[in-house]
Symmetry: D2
Subunit: 367 residues, 4 copies
Amino acid sequence: MKKQIPPQYYHDYLNLEDLLTSQELLSEKAGERAHDEMLFVIVHQIYELWFKQILFELDSIINAFDRDVIRESHIGIAVSRLSRIIEIQRILIDQIQVLETMTPMDFLDFRDLLTPASGFQSIQFRLIENKLGLTAENRYEYGHRDYKSQMHDEHQMILERSEASPSLFELVEHWLERTPFLVFEDFNFWEQYRSAVDEMLASDRKIILKNDKLSSKQKKTHLQEYENTEIMFDSLFDKKKHNDLINKNEKRLSHKATKAALLILLYRDRPILHNPYKLLSKLLDVDELLTTWRYRHTLMVARMIGRKIGTGGSTGSSYLKESTEKHRIFSDYGNLTTFLIPRSLLPRLPDEILRNLGFYYNSSTHK
Amino acid sequence: MKKQIPPQYYHDYLNLEDLLTSQELLSEKAGERAHDEMLFVIVHQIYELWFKQILFELDSIINAFDRDVIRESHIGIAVSRLSRIIEIQRILIDQIQVLETMTPMDFLDFRDLLTPASGFQSIQFRLIENKLGLTAENRYEYGHRDYKSQMHDEHQMILERSEASPSLFELVEHWLERTPFLVFEDFNFWEQYRSAVDEMLASDRKIILKNDKLSSKQKKTHLQEYENTEIMFDSLFDKKKHNDLINKNEKRLSHKATKAALLILLYRDRPILHNPYKLLSKLLDVDELLTTWRYRHTLMVARMIGRKIGTGGSTGSSYLKESTEKHRIFSDYGNLTTFLIPRSLLPRLPDEILRNLGFYYNSSTHK
Amino acid sequence: MKKQIPPQYYHDYLNLEDLLTSQELLSEKAGERAHDEMLFVIVHQIYELWFKQILFELDSIINAFDRDVIRESHIGIAVSRLSRIIEIQRILIDQIQVLETMTPMDFLDFRDLLTPASGFQSIQFRLIENKLGLTAENRYEYGHRDYKSQMHDEHQMILERSEASPSLFELVEHWLERTPFLVFEDFNFWEQYRSAVDEMLASDRKIILKNDKLSSKQKKTHLQEYENTEIMFDSLFDKKKHNDLINKNEKRLSHKATKAALLILLYRDRPILHNPYKLLSKLLDVDELLTTWRYRHTLMVARMIGRKIGTGGSTGSSYLKESTEKHRIFSDYGNLTTFLIPRSLLPRLPDEILRNLGFYYNSSTHK
Amino acid sequence: MKKQIPPQYYHDYLNLEDLLTSQELLSEKAGERAHDEMLFVIVHQIYELWFKQILFELDSIINAFDRDVIRESHIGIAVSRLSRIIEIQRILIDQIQVLETMTPMDFLDFRDLLTPASGFQSIQFRLIENKLGLTAENRYEYGHRDYKSQMHDEHQMILERSEASPSLFELVEHWLERTPFLVFEDFNFWEQYRSAVDEMLASDRKIILKNDKLSSKQKKTHLQEYENTEIMFDSLFDKKKHNDLINKNEKRLSHKATKAALLILLYRDRPILHNPYKLLSKLLDVDELLTTWRYRHTLMVARMIGRKIGTGGSTGSSYLKESTEKHRIFSDYGNLTTFLIPRSLLPRLPDEILRNLGFYYNSSTHK
């Protein structure tokens, strides 16, 4: 039974007494208030509150996937909470425009006082990255320094624990590897898909060869690119080649999970695959928006401090630039579109399988 | 001389230890955590942090205008800080989309626990309204209850103090009334303007009369509207009529300030009027965005609670709807466009006056 | 078999030769180009291109619903195309900001030349309204004039045809009335729901009565509101009362469709109801965004022309204001939240029914 | 005198008859309509209409700067038209979200028919780049092919003409080089600035050296970065070094223009510098938004086609990625923040100069 809760007042419920007095301006302590430091503090506090919310949702999604049997409803919950994270990320990006109302000159008024405080020390942001699945070896190492090095000891421990726990990337990969709805028994899907692919690639090749506007030099370039496409397909059909790419750090998702994810993409029109498809699609959204945020942030920092060393003694702008690409986590899902084939070439699934992927409305209840 | 400040760490500088533990879920206290209550708390905390920032900027703008001699630089500062408020308001509106990821059903899980907490009790939002210039008599009174009645005593006092202090509306009005750059001495601006207006109105009237597609009934309607336009111009030329409209609560800005504001609009191309024009324009933006926020908020609340009584025992959605229009503060500036006349009809200012409204680049330094 | 298509060039494929020469400035014809007329023309052309796309999607959705047996896949297609319409509507709203870079003074330079052209004459916008389900009687009649009166004859005929064809509102209502997945046979859902409602209403009533902060006058107000809630529930349980509200134009959706829609809301967690829930939710989004667009448009027009008569001899701003509320089409779906009850009170469906609302993963295929 | 213009109807004024029939679907010609091709066509037509508007504004800005004496009002016009371009660019970026409602699978339905049409062939986009100031040598050359090679002959000529005409970059550079308001006569600004810089750099250096948390290896890294900062300042004080950087393609803006731009940044609070500061700032905005658009576009294309060859036989995604950084035009203005110094260290300008940078309100007219 639920306990009784005393009547609430807005101000107390939200702890506003503390919240609204937690802005301490260093410039004021130093004797001369810099007007824009208030914005700087509040914007960063708001970032951290959003990060807390993202972590809260992320933990619940990880929890939904960290079990043996994953139900439809777990996927449904994951999809709607990822959607929430995505809406928050859009705000994170948009609110850079607020911070940009501070000019570089106004920032100079208090910038030196911040040393060595820096956004690099945001433990929550690092946790988000770790929980999504960024690995220590994929981190861009700025200035020969571990990303945890400038943090409080207890925060270092929290981060280490998150590195050791299964990430969302790993849990979803594991789920894909044992996904039940795509076991075809007798039906040889992959053989039929392969012959469709061969047909499509042959047509792509012809497009290049018959393009009269291309010089022979240009044709050569295109044919090289075409061969790269072939090589990518090879890795799809050959686990060993796929694993080679993983070893070269060009792919991350396992061969088995890749094939399951591709099937979800190809047959996403079937009701049972709606939510799995959305799941993969939203993971990619989260990844792209994280990258877009880093990118917009880079532009903003570059504009704010030019090429000088950042607060915390960092060349913030170069760091952010490097990490933009390197820190992608779910890009393998995006690259799956390489393997799409036109609907007309798609192997037609046997009725038995089709039925397992749909709903049955009891038509007799129709009036 | 500046005092020495010890080295700062991000986590401490932003007071994150307190900030990130200040979310207490009532559903948890009641024995069963409602997942979405975290979002509800954090979104509202973020609203309040933004409100604090808006108040901080607003106070500094009010301070810039609360003096005898107002310099160009004061106007410049007001313009750039209003721009910041505007960017924040855009975020306030956009972030409604985050809250909308909570479904009405999810809200029901903890809604009853909130009683009687309600956004109506946000003292900061009321302060923003008061400082901008919303008067007690223009407030939509919900349920025969003063807007301060459900607040802590010290908050009631703070609000009363803000009601008694000069608002931004009043300060800008006062500044307009004594604005120096529009004293024309011998040049009779208003006489020339009036004859231009008469010419324009006559042409408008002809447009209606010669429109063959209008039935005589429709023409009548249009002519009535045309006469309303004439009446509005009458009030511009006749202080008494203007004051009548003020008494009927159809206008608020004084006759003298209205004329100064119109001159700023008409000659806004002159360098010296750039910033004054932007000032008026941004006050209108702030007002519109506040209204847009209320409007979007209304739609969201209606969708969340339907037509039931809100948290705090309020019919939130009807309140918000009523207040949307009633709480406009600077709409008189928007209505000034009624009085614009085409550039071609605009009285040409004497050279002497023109010179006072511009810069002089020493052309000899041109090479 | 597909026909061969000759090689395409971007410029020709998009018909850019025509498209980019289709801007004719009246101010240029009149002898003096007004710089901002180009923006005015192009922004409106872009609006019309987006309207064409919305109509294209809308027609395909209507087509999907205009049949006897509606499959899961039809709902899925409707949901994804409504999502596209929603994204377009967001752009329609945002792009008002581009038009707002034109100042009222700049508009005056060519405004009089436009007579009597006016956005009221956009046939595509009227078609969107008609196809969604706005009825002729619900239209705000501006100036005693039919909305078709200022259009070309063939356009009047197209609009009349759209008025006579089944609208999306009607088709979805019809689908809801015969929706098969909510036939409960022996299980008496509505009896159990009603007793849950009674319990909830009694608790709401207690909240008002025990609130010490309310004066007796305020309590009276709240109790009246509470009784309104009761009346609304009455109409849910009594078809006659529901029809009375329809006759008074306070509701539009039929009693049977209302009940089906409410069941979808209440059990939207069940896989089979995912898409039907999204359908209703997105129809409401479309409606709200249309309203939001009208609202933002109103503010913009008011700012642009003040209280003067609009192009086409209309008092544009007052029209837009009136129509904002009156032209809502799907608000009944939003009001359904009034009838939500907490999950804990929700009647537990029998296993047999639950099974019909879900998927069955063949657990033996799990490895 | 103005010519008479006959009455206009909305439909005719906007040429809607042609505009709304200018969408020809290749999939329809090929015998099987692909539903999503309509969106593809309309979105790209809308892009091109926006590009036309951007070019229209850009031409008028270039025209304002392509003269011997540039007045305050020219700068003012440039600033407000750049603001308009910026608002359009924001829409260009946002509307990618509309195109993203098309799935890769839906795109496959008509993608092959488009060969070799491709966004690379947009002459208007190339013109925008050329007119802003992208030089042929700074273009990322995709597949050993000139960017003009796949265009109609007359379009190639138009592009060649734009390459040969003065770009906005060059015109603004030229204006900065002869800007009159920063001639200081006797006052030795640069000497005083240099000693302020030396003071600031010495302090930055101390920050690194006294940071106990840095290992000696890390300190070395930081000191190298610090030295890079010194080298950048050297180039500011030494024209020869600056020109070396230009020759190495690390800078583009001339030494003289760089110094003028820096002065504008440093004293942007002075009324006369408001608009010049905004001009530089908005040029940077345009550049960043162009880059952001390319970046978002890259992500979208990658997601749509994976790593396969693009329409037009291009590896669209790799191209877009390469060009993102390489095609920046105004980044030198962003890098100027490197040279900012705190307000407290800023040389105090002599009264005579200050007076030339401000307005004079005739205080006697104050009442």
